[in-house]
Amino acid sequence: MEADELFRAFYYSLGLPLRSVIEYKIRRRGGSPSEVFEKPWLLLHYVGLELGQHNAELVGMLFVDFARRHRVDPKVAAEALRNPEGWRKFAEYVRDL
């Protein structure tokens, strides 16, 4: 499985109600939900800006839990959505699985 694919699966696992809130907030910031699929680290950025850092932490933890179930090291997953560098390392890790 590719990292993008894994992220997309995680994003849809959040469920429609939660995704609706996140997408509304992204649009309110002038962004587009599709942007998040291109740059996954923007997810926590937008959630933190619009819904508070505690919710960004929560979504981050949900991602770590999801990735762990796909055999990804939690430490690598924890950095994946924080910045482009974290995502790059995560993508490499997933490719090598």
């Binding site: 959040l14 469920g15 109600p17 939660l18 508070g52 505690h54 919710n55 929560l58 949900l62 839990d65």
Partner: protein, 392 residues
């Protein structure tokens, strides 16, 4: 209010019953730094609520969580935030959103070492959280005959009031306040006011009779925390007697006058005194706010005269009359309250909410109840030269 909240307190009840306000206000009494964790209300709305209670939002760390299906991760995130914030008090609003297992309840109980107030919906009262909680408070909102009552019932406690104890409470910009039921045990020993005797005069024979029973007690003053019920007839003479009493008190002290309709001011003017009457229609007394505003206008006074309570009685029943009086005494615990009913009988249920009850007819007055042992049961009344004279 702190007596209700010991260790881990679980507050539960239906939506709109005042659980969150009660918890926020209690938390603010228990520590300087409060962490609020909510799963339903948004942070902005919660901060509005905090301001609405007259509290400072800067004392609150507000964490409004998104609703997620993985409640285990949610719990883990909440614990992380708790360790980071290190608050004095925690409010967990919407505990139904967390895992409902025995393990989760036990974990929360053990992790949150600071005083914690958890809020849940009605069904949480039978959950694992209820078993581990140190205190269990059931909150409800009762709408009866058009009046609203908010009630808190102590279901379980380790240190506070006895289980089963029930209290009304009120929510306003003054915060949340428990309205305790008045009883004669709250009567103070000192008189807060005595009438001047310029308009209501007791004949020598009455004074002598009084002095025989209680030396030095020649005038019927009112004690701190006392309640006097005055049941007056419909005849204009009865209103004049009542106004004469009011004016005599006004000669000596500041008196707050709250009426359900404008009446006593004009009669008092005939008796030679000016009364600033705060009018609150009985139709508005089904809610707390109008009464609270009226008392705010009255200010801190040693005596409050309430007029037109017969309308409150007819509209809402005895329960509301008692509530109004309890409300007044919760705001002004040291004041004496003189409650006037026009054209109604002092039925037994009403007698229990006063320490003294008088009944006035155009030509006589009857002491229906006197906790202090008024020695005369019935007095004759006559009006002469603008004065009301009581004789044996």
């Amino acid at each position: 209010m702190r007596e209700f909240f010991q260790g881990f307190t679980l507050v539960y009840g239906p939506p709109g019953s005042g659980k969150t306000s009660l918890a926020l206000y209690a938390a603010a009494q228990m520590g300087d730094r409060i962490m609020y964790v909510g799963f339903y209300e948004t942070g902005d709305k919660l901060r509005d609520k905090i301001r609405g209670l007259g509290l400072d939002p800067s004392r609150f760390v507000v964490l409004d969580y998104l609703s997620v299906s993985d409640v285990d991760v949610l719990l883990s995130s909440v614990v992380d935030e708790y360790l980071k914030a290190a608050p004095d008090v925690v409010v967990l609003d919407g505990i139904n959103a967390l895992p409902q297992s025995r393990e989760a309840a036990s974990a929360i109980y053990r992790v949150f070492q600071t005083p914690t107030i958890a809020i849940g919906e009605e069904q949480i009262g039978g959950s694992h959280f209820a078993y581990v909680a140190d205190s269990l408070l059931e909150v409800s909102q009762i709408l009866h005959r058009g009046a609203r009552y908010r009630r808190v019932r102590v279901v379980k406690t380790r240190l506070g009031p006895s289980p089963g104890a029930e209290f009304y409470f009120t929510i306003s910009r003054r915060g949340v306040h428990i309205i305790k039921r008045w009883s004669q045990s709250r009567l103070g020993e000192r008189a807060v006011a005595a009438p001047s005797g310029r308009r209501v005069v007791f004949a020598d024979e009455v004074r002598n009779s009084l002095m025989r029973i209680a030396p030095g007690y020649t005038r019927p003053g009112v004690l701190a925390g006392s309640r006097v019920g005055a049941f007056i007839c419909e005849h204009p003479a009865c209103l004049r007697i009542s106004a004469a009493y009011l004016c005599d008190y006004l000669d000596n002290v500041k008196v707050g006058v709250v009426s359900t309709y404008r009446s006593i001011g004009a009669v008092a003017a005939q008796m030679g005194c000016g009364v600033e009457e705060v009018v609150v229609p009985a139709s508005a007394l089904g809610e707390d706010l109008p009464l609270e505003e009226a008392l705010g206008r009255v200010g801190d006074v040693p005596v409050v005269f309430l007029y037109g309570l017969e309308e409150v009685l007819h509209m809402y029943g005895v329960e509301r009359v008692a509530y109004v009086l309890d409300f007044v005494h919760s705001v002004l615990p040291e004041s004496a309250v003189v409650a006037t009913f026009r054209g109604v009988e002092p039925v037994p249920e009403l007698l229990s909410i006063f320490n003294t009850v008088w009944r006035y007819f155009p030509d006589r007055a009857v002491v229906v109840k006197s906790a202090l042992g008024w020695p005369v049961h019935e007095l004759k009344i006559r009006e002469e030269e603008g004065r009301v004279v009581f004789t044996l």
